[in-house]
Every structure is written in C-alpha cells, then in structure tokens.
C-alpha cells in the first residue's frame, strides 16, 4: 500500500501540503496511505460513508459531528488536501513554531484554530454563536439516556450563563476562547502524536 501511495502522490503536491499543514514528508505519505485505504470508492475522495465505515467512530458520541467537520460546507466529498487540512488542527505545536513570525498566515494548529475547530462542532448554523439548542444537542450526544431533558436543559443554561458576557444567551467564539477555555491547556489537549 505504501508504495502505491507514494506513487500516486506527486512531489509538488506533497510540498504544497507540507507548506500548508506543517506535516513532514513521511507523515504525509503515511497519512496518504491511510487515506487511500479508507477510500473504498477509489476515486481520490472520501465520502461520509467512508468515514462511517471506521468501526470506532460509530461508537464515538461525537463521531458524526467530527466526520462533518472534514467536509467543506455543502460538499459531501473531501479530497486528500482537505483531509490533511483538517488533521493539521491536531498537530502538536512545536517549539520552533512558537517563535515564528507573526506576519504570515496563522498555522492550522494554532491555539485559536484548534479552538475554532471545537467551536464549529457545536455551532451548526454557523452564526458564530453556540445557542442553547446547539449546546443541548451536543450534550444529548455526550450523556447517557438516564439523564432527563430537564436536567440537561439546566446544565445547558448553567453552561451558557457561565460563559455569557454580553447577555445574548449564547456563547460567541470570543466568549468561548476567553471565558470558557482560558485556563485550559488547549495546545496539549487538542493534539495527538502523528507518527513520523
């Protein structure tokens, strides 16, 4: 599989992805082989069904939301570039990146991008606000059935109240970053180790 992967992936493509996502060459080829093995239709793109075939994802409460996060708005196919772009959010921040110049485009794995990824999982209607309903939906996914809707509602209320600053009964991204997760080590908690 590996050899096939590397033959299909052109060098210049790898270079571009490297620049965009910060993954190393070997990581890209490794992930590409994973990509092709997921791609049952063998058309160079992944559909939702391809993702849903991963057994562990089916038992992940947020599985669907995360799968959706891989797809650009309105599309139901994702190519390797898009796939990598999403995964790049989870690349750990390296030391040498911290001191990088601030002028260039923000790397995908920056703190705010990581947070934005999480935020988008909640924010379904893309109005840059987590409303009570949206929060409730996610809560419903994450808790077992033996918690009543009422309790969930009060949890959602409380959560919003905790974070809400401007009194609009919703959590905006700014509030999300500042109020909610200021003290959380997002850089660490939203990173996984990709094999080199």
């Amino acid at each position: 599989m590996g050899s096939r992967a590397s033959t299909l992936l052109r060098d210049e493509e790898i270079e571009e992805i490297k620049k965009e996502t910060g993954f190393s060459h070997s990581q890209i080829t490794r992930l590409y082989s994973r990509f092709t093995s997921l791609d049952k239709g063998e058309n160079g793109t992944l559909s939702r069904e391809d993702f849903q075939r991963i057994p562990e994802l089916a038992i992940n409460p947020l599985g669907d939301r995360i799968i959706n996060a891989f797809f650009p708005e309105g599309e139901d196919q994702v190519n390797f570039r898009g796939f990598m772009r999403t995964l790049a959010h989870f690349r750990p921040i390296e030391d040498n990146e911290k001191s990088k110049d601030q002028n260039g485009p923000e790397p995908l794995n920056s703190r705010s991008n990581k947070l934005h990824f999480a935020f988008r999982l909640y924010d379904l209607d893309k109005d840059d606000k987590i409303s009570r309903d949206e929060l409730l939906q996610v809560l419903r996914m994450m808790v077992g059935v033996n918690i009543s809707d009422e309790q969930l509602g009060s949890i959602a209320d409380r959560t919003i109240q905790e974070a809400d600053q401007d009194g609009d009964s919703a959590i905006s991204f700014a509030e999300f970053v500042k109020q909610v997760l200021e003290k959380v080590d997002v850089e660490q908690k939203m990173s996984i180790r990709f094999l080199h």
Binding site: I59, F70, G144, V145, N146, D149, E150, I192
Partner: protein
C-alpha cells in the same frame, strides 16, 4: 537500652513538633530537618558515650530499614500516571543511573590518577565505580516536598518521583555487582566476569520484578478471601510484601525491585478487596514504618557526621564528587530528554530539564550504602564516607528550589476550580481526539493500554477481586467524586454561613494540611488524581452559584459518556467497568445510526434533531416502565438485614446494587452500617407497586418543619460514619459505604430542604420520600442490568430541583454536618434512642 529508645523517640517527637508548626516545614523540608536532628542527636550521643555506640549494620539496613521505605513508595505510586510515563521513568532511572555511576566513577578515578587527590585515598577503578554507583542514587525527597507545595505539573512530578523510586533499585543492584567485584579483587576478575556482571544486572532486575509480580498476584488473591478475618488483612499486606523481599533476596534477585513492583501492582486489587479500616491501617502503618526507617538512617548519618573517627576528609575528592555528580546529572538529563522528546507528545522543555537536574540530590540510601562498605576490602572507605555525608548534606540545597521554580516559571499544574464549561469541552476534546486517532488509524500507547485494560477487566480483576468489589468499582469513583464535591460544597456553604467574619479555620482544612506535611507521596497521589478538588482554592469563593455548579458537575460526571481515551491523568480509568463501556458504546452506536437514518430522510437539521429527540424520549420512557416493574420485583425478594451494633444507628437506604450484595452475602461486614430499616423498604414498596407516577409523594406533602427536622436530624448520628468519607484524605473508599453515605446525604438534604408545615406523625414519610428521590442520583451511576434505578427520573428530578431551589438555606445547614461530624460523634449516642423509636413507628405502617 534506654538511650536508643530515647534516640528513636526524640526525632519522631521533634518531627511531630515540626509538623505542627507549618511555618518551619514550609521553609525547611522534612529530610533536612531529619539530618539536622540527627546531627544534634549524634552530638548528644557522642558527648554522653564518648564514642559512637551505634553502627549501621548491613543486615539491619537491608532486612529492616530498606524494605519499608521501598514498599511505601511502591505502594503509594500513582499507578496510572506511572505507567503513562513509564518510558521516560525507566529511561531516567536505568540509563540515567548507569550513566551517572559510570561517569562519576570514571571521572573520579581520572582525578585520582591525575594525582589531584590525597595519596591516602587508596582506590582503584573498581572502588571508584563502586563509589559512583552508590552516590548516584538520586533521592529528591526535598525536591518532591517543594514540588508538592508549588504544584508543578504532574508530568514533571511523576517523572522525578518515579525515577527516585526505581533508581534506588538500580543503584542497589549496581552496588552489589561492584561490591562483589571489589571483594573479588581486580586481579581475579576476568573478561567473562564483566559480561556476567552485565548479564546479572539484567537478570537480577528482571528476576526481582518477576518475583514482585508473582507476590503481588498472590497477595491480591489472598485478600480476596479474607472477608471473615478482616483483622489480618493489613498483616497479609505487610507479610507478603516482606516475604517477596526475602524470597527475592534468597535467590539473590533484586529484592528492592520485587517489593516495589509488588507494591505497585497489588495495590489496585488489594485496595478493592480489603475493608476501609484495613486500608487506613495499611496506609498509616506503611507511612509510619517508612518514615521511621528514614529517620533512623538520617540519625545514623548525623551520628557518623559528628564522629570524626568515622571519616577522613579529602578536599579534592569531596569537591570533585560534588562537581561531577552535578555535571553528569545535568548532562545525563539533557541527553536523555533530547532522545525522549522525540517520542513524547508533550516534550519536556528546558525548564523542566533544569529542575530535574537540580533535583538530583542524594539521600538516605546513598549514605546507608557507603556506611556498609567493608573497610577491609575498600581501603578508601573513610574518604568515601566523608564525601557522601557532604553530598547528602547538599540535600539542603533542595531548599533553594522553590524560588528557582518560581523564578523559572515552571509550568504549574492549574488548581483553579473547574468550571462546567471546561469539564464539558474537555470531554468533547477527548472524544474528538479519539475520533481523529481512529481516522488516522494509528494505534500507539493508548491502544495497548486499552488492550491491557480489557485483559485486566476480563480476567485479572475477576480473578483477584471480590465479586462485590468488582461490580461496584466504577461506581466508587463516581460517588467518590461526588462526595468530594459535596465536601467542597459544605465548605463553601460554611464559609457563607459564618459570613466569613473571621478567616475561619475550616474544619476539614487541618486534615488536609497535616497530610501535606506528613507525606509527600500521599499528596502526590491526591494531586495526581484529576478528580480531586482543590479545597484550598474553593474556600475563597462561596455563593449559591457554586453550589449549583457543583451539583451540575456531579450530574455530568455521572452520565457523560466516557471517552475511550483521555489525556487527563486520572485514575478513574481503572474504575470503568467493561459493561459500562460496552453499554455506552452500544447506546452511542444506536443513536448515531438513528441520526444517520434521519439525515437520509431529510436534510433539514432541525427536523431530524427534534424527531430523534422525541424518539429518544419515548424509548427512555419505555425503559423506565420496564425498570419500574423490575424494581418492584426486587423489592419483594429483597432481604433486609436487621441487625444492630452498639454505636450510631444508621439507616441504610439500599439501592439496587446493595440489595444484590446482601443477597449474595458479599456484604462488607465492617462498614459500620448497623441495620437496614425495614420500614424504608416497605414504604418504598407500597409506593412503587402501583406503578404510577402520581403516587410518588410530591415534596410539598411530606416536608417537616425545619426546626423539627433540626431537632431530630436523622443524619446527625450517621455523620459519625460519613465523616470518614467526606474527609479529603480518603482516596480509597469502600464502595458500599460511599454509596450509602451519598444516599444519606442526599436523603437528608431533601428532607430538610422541604418547606415547613408538617406534623411529626409524618415522620416515616421522611424516610420514604428520600428513598424515592435519590433514585435518579444513583441512576446516573447505574449499570444496564441495574437499570431499575432510574425510575421516575424526570418527575422526581423536577421535584428535587424545585425543592432545593425553593429553600436555599436548608442544604446549607445540612452541609455543615459532615464537617462537624467528628466532634458530634462524642455527643451523639444519646440521640440514637429516639431514632430507634422512629423506625419502629415507621415499620408499623
């Protein structure tokens, strides 16, 4: 004979005094105090006896002093953190120690060859290597104490701690190998002996570990069957650990490693099996033995330091040693970290490295080992002793690490109060990461840990744990967490109650602070656990909002799906039972599938979500009905165990798990629970059999007047028992007790929280109602087969909430109780009588 006794008693008494005065220990770590004390005592002894009467004998040290120290650190090692970082710990402990000892030994030998040392130092390469091996035992006691105080991040903490534990073992093995070389004499050592030395190093360490594992297994198995002989449980723990030590020693394997791994591995099972009292006994005995041993060693150190006949000074050797150990420690740490960071998700940064190098101080073991050298064989022993004493005294440098840590801005572990948002989102993060890792298709460390845990759940735990303990162990954690929070709430409430007029000495604070002084390792464990609430932080905030917050927390904690992978270093991982995992997996799977089907039908999100929600509701209701009938069945077959003991009377509100427990006669017999109020069950039955929600007493009917309730607080007596669990120092808790304590506090909360206006004739109902109302709480921890627990969830929770909302003062008063409990214990017995009557009355109904 009097003198040694006094000698032993003195430092302990002084230690106590020091512990009492927080000021001293906040400045000077314990081990430094011990050294100073030893110095003083040594001076006294020398002045009295004119010559040093006491010698550290090799046998005494290896047979009696060392095992408790090692067992203590092994047993109290936070195992989840330890195994999470085992790669780094092993590297630092094994490679680091080897590097330190060889580099130091060789460098000193070079110094000797260069003629910089006193010609009196008669030592060859082997002697210096021997010395290097003993001096490389890093013992960062002082550093750990400081770490604990300033809350450095837990990764750094566990690495330093784990290293200090394991490298003692490595040092001793190395020491023995070199010692045999020296005794053999350089002339008789052949090339094959070096190979044998290396081989024996691995054989001895791995063999020791194997012996330890074997005995851990035995120990766990034995404690499974000690139900009827609780009293010998602690004995077994100590005896078998010691037997492991002796057995390993007998076959000349590493006894120290045997004890260490016996401690680490048996803990989980032993703790689950033995009773609460035994646990306390084990904990304190172990701590006491370990600190006694350390005290004695440091005392000998003090005596030897004063006794000039014991050592000979050589400036070059002393300075050279100091310089080299610091240098090589730093070099070793930097090199190893460089390699390790290539494999770590969270690299150890430069500041961590500085702290680690700085923390490489030497302690009691190094000194004991040098004293044990044979003067006949090792000619330069006196020089080595002097050097070691000086090096050990450098432990005092550990003092300066606090400003250093602050100055370097070492990443601290955050001890702010967790907010609901954080909890929620971090949970989401865990799910997200698990999903991404699945998509990437990479199985790393977490994958294998998962595999091991499945194996553990399937076979080991079943084999080594009592049935009751095995079944209950995931609830333990949940309930513990809740109680912890409850504790915190009561804290907050109390603060609010007294209106913080003075900086009140919060009742549960002393227990915690004294803990922090008495044992580093203990607190280590505490701070390592993710679920442990930092009470010190909480005492600054007190409001109703916090209360609500905490209530939310435990609701969430109970019913959030557990991600399959968590970065959070909490030990709760071990408490998740397989069936729960499977159940939630299935549940999620069903939900996801449903959602996907809905998406097929319509693309509009709003429609589908509401639809699926409705369906869920329906399903939930159906389940509830089923569970309802199940509950009634169980209620009928349920065996109540009315029996009585002397002291406080306790109402056991039996939930499903406990019922099955008693029927299997697996009930813990030491839980201090005196009897199960039959009335409770009867009333419960009467209420449930109709199977209609309307019959469930709405809170406004039952409530007694608060004054009345205060007079006859049914839980007042109970708190004597409950107090044990409320205190923050109990990290391990008998599950049944916990459940009960929780139930009680809930039920008592409900009863007092209800508005006034009721006659005492309704008293029995006060017991009936709480029983019903606590059901949803226990339902949150209930397993699928115990689904009967969640009857009436929506209805009941509504009433429960409105209740607590309507009278915010009620809970506050109630919350005071747990904290006061210990004092109350003395006063309580008389009140046991009336409550008896109450129950009788209730049972007539």
């Amino acid at each position: 004979m009097l003198c040694p006794c006094a000698c032993l008693a003195d430092p302990l008494i002084l230690l106590l005094v020091f512990h009492l005065s927080r000021k001293v220990t906040s400045v000077v770590p314990e081990s430094c105090l011990l050294i100073l004390l030893g110095l003083g005592l040594g001076g006294i002894v020398l002045a009295v006896a004119k010559k040093a009467e006491y010698q550290l004998e090799p046998n005494m040290f290896f047979l009696f002093l060392l095992p408790p120290i090692v067992l203590d650190s092994g047993y109290f090692m936070p195992s989840r953190l330890f195994f999470d970082n085992i790669g780094a710990i092993l590297t630092y402990a094994v490679v680091g120690t080897l590097w330190n000892s060889f580099a130091t030994g060789t460098a000193l030998w070079g110094l000797h060859r260069a003629g910089l040392m006193d010609p009196g130092v008669e030592a060859g390469l082997m002697d210096f290597l021997l010395f290097g091996s003993l001096i490389s035992a890093v013992d960062p006691v002082a550093v750990l104490a400081v770490f604990e105080e300033v809350h450095v991040n837990e990764t750094l903490f566990i690495i330093v701690f784990g290293e200090s534990l394991l490298n003692d073992a490595v040092t001793v093995v190395l020491y023995k190998v070199f010692n045999s070389f020296v005794e053999l004499g350089p002339a008789h050592i052949h090339a094959t002996d070096y190979v044998k030395g290396v081989a024996s190093f691995f054989l001895v360490s791995l063999g020791g570990t194997a012996v330890g594992l074997l005995f851990a297994f035995l120990l766990a198995l034995i404690t499974r069957f000690t139900k009827r002989v609780r009293i010998i449980e602690p004995l077994f723990v100590f005896l078998l650990a010691y037997v492991a030590y002796l057995a390993a020693e007998m076959v000349s394997l590493s006894a120290i490693l045997a004890v260490t791994f016996c401690g680490i591995c048996c803990k989980k099972y032993v703790e689950a099996n033995i009773s609460q009292k035994s646990r306390t006994t084990v904990k304190y005995t172990m701590k006491t033995l370990a600190s006694s041993s350390e005290t004695i060693i440091f005392m000998f150190l003090g005596i030897s330091a004063v006794d000039t006949s014991k050592w000979t000074w050589d400036t070059a050797l002393v300075l050279g040693t100091l310089f080299f150990i610091l240098l090589f420690r730093a070099v070793g740490v930097v090199l190893q970290t460089y390699v390790l960071n290539r494999f770590r998700l969270i690299p150890l940064d430069r500041i961590d490295q500085v702290v680690m190098s700085y923390g490489g101080l030497r302690g009691a073991v190094a000194f004991a080992l040098v004293i044990l050298l044979d003067r006949e064989k090792v000619k330069a022993k006196d020089y080595f002793v002097a050097t070691t004493i000086v090096v050990v005294f450098f432990t005092v440098i550990g003092l300066t690490i606090k400003p250093l840590v602050t100055w370097l801005k070492v990443k601290r572990s955050d001890h702010h109060k967790p907010t609901l948002n954080e909890e929620l989102h971090e949970h989401a993060f865990d799910h997200i990461l698990a999903a991404v890792e699945d998509i990437v298709g990479h199985h790393g460390y977490h994958y294998w840990r998962d595999k091991w845990e499945q194996f553990d759940k399937k076979y080991l735990s079943q084999l080594l744990m009592r049935k009751s303990a095995y079944r209950l162990r995931d609830e333990i954690w949940d309930v513990y967490y809740k109680l912890n929070i409850r504790d915190a709430i009561s804290f907050v409430d109390q603060g609010g109650h007294v209106h913080s007029a003075a900086k009140l000495a919060l009742p549960s604070m002393p227990s915690r602070t004294s803990m922090s002084e008495s044992s580093v390792t203990n607190l280590l464990r505490e701070s390592g656990s993710g679920a442990c609430l930092d009470l010190q932080v909480i005492d600054t905030v007190r409001s109703r909002r916090d209360k609500e917050d905490a209530a939310m927390h435990h609701v969430l904690r109970g019913s959030l799906y557990k991600p399959r992978r968590r970065y959070k270093a909490s030990y709760s991982r071990h408490f998740i039972s397989p069936d729960k995992q499977e159940r939630q997996d299935k549940e999620i799977f069903r939900q996801n599938m449903k959602r996907r089907l809905e998406t097929f039908k319509s693309t509009k999100h709003n429609v589908c979500s509401s639809k699926s929600k409705a369906r869920l509701k329906e399903k939930g209701r159906k389940k509830k009905n089923i569970s309802l009938t199940k509950e009634t069945l169980n209620g009928k077959t349920h065996r109540t165990v009315p029996w009585q003991d002397a002291a406080p009377v306790l109402v056991m509100v039996s939930s499903e798990e406990e019922e099955s427990d008693s029927s299997e006669t697996e009930k813990e017999d030491d839980e201090g629970i005196v009897f199960v109020a039959r009335a409770t069950d009867e009333v419960l039955q009467g209420k449930t059999t109709p199977g209609s929600l309307d019959v469930c007493p709405s809170p406004c009917i039952i409530p007694p007047s608060p004054t009345l309730a205060e007079k006859e607080l049914p839980w007042k007596g109970d708190q004597a028992d409950l107090a044990v669990y409320v205190s923050s120092e109990t990290t391990k808790i008998v599950p049944v007790d916990m459940q009960k304590a929780w139930n009680q506090s809930i039920s008592s909360l409900e009863s007092i929280a209800s508005p006034p206006g009721i006659e005492s004739g309704h008293q029995h109902r006060r017991f009936a109602c709480p029983v019903l109302e606590e059901q949803p709480q226990s339902a949150s921890q209930a397993m699928p087969e115990q689904s009967s627990c969640f009857q009436f969830p929506s209805h009941v929770s509504k009433s429960g909430r409105s209740q607590s909302d309507s009278s915010p003062d009620g809970p506050e008063q109630q919350e005071l109780q747990p904290l006061m409990a210990t004092e109350e214990q003395g006063r309580m017995p008389p009140s046991a009588e009336p409550r008896w009557l109450m129950f009788n009355r209730a049972s007539h109904l």
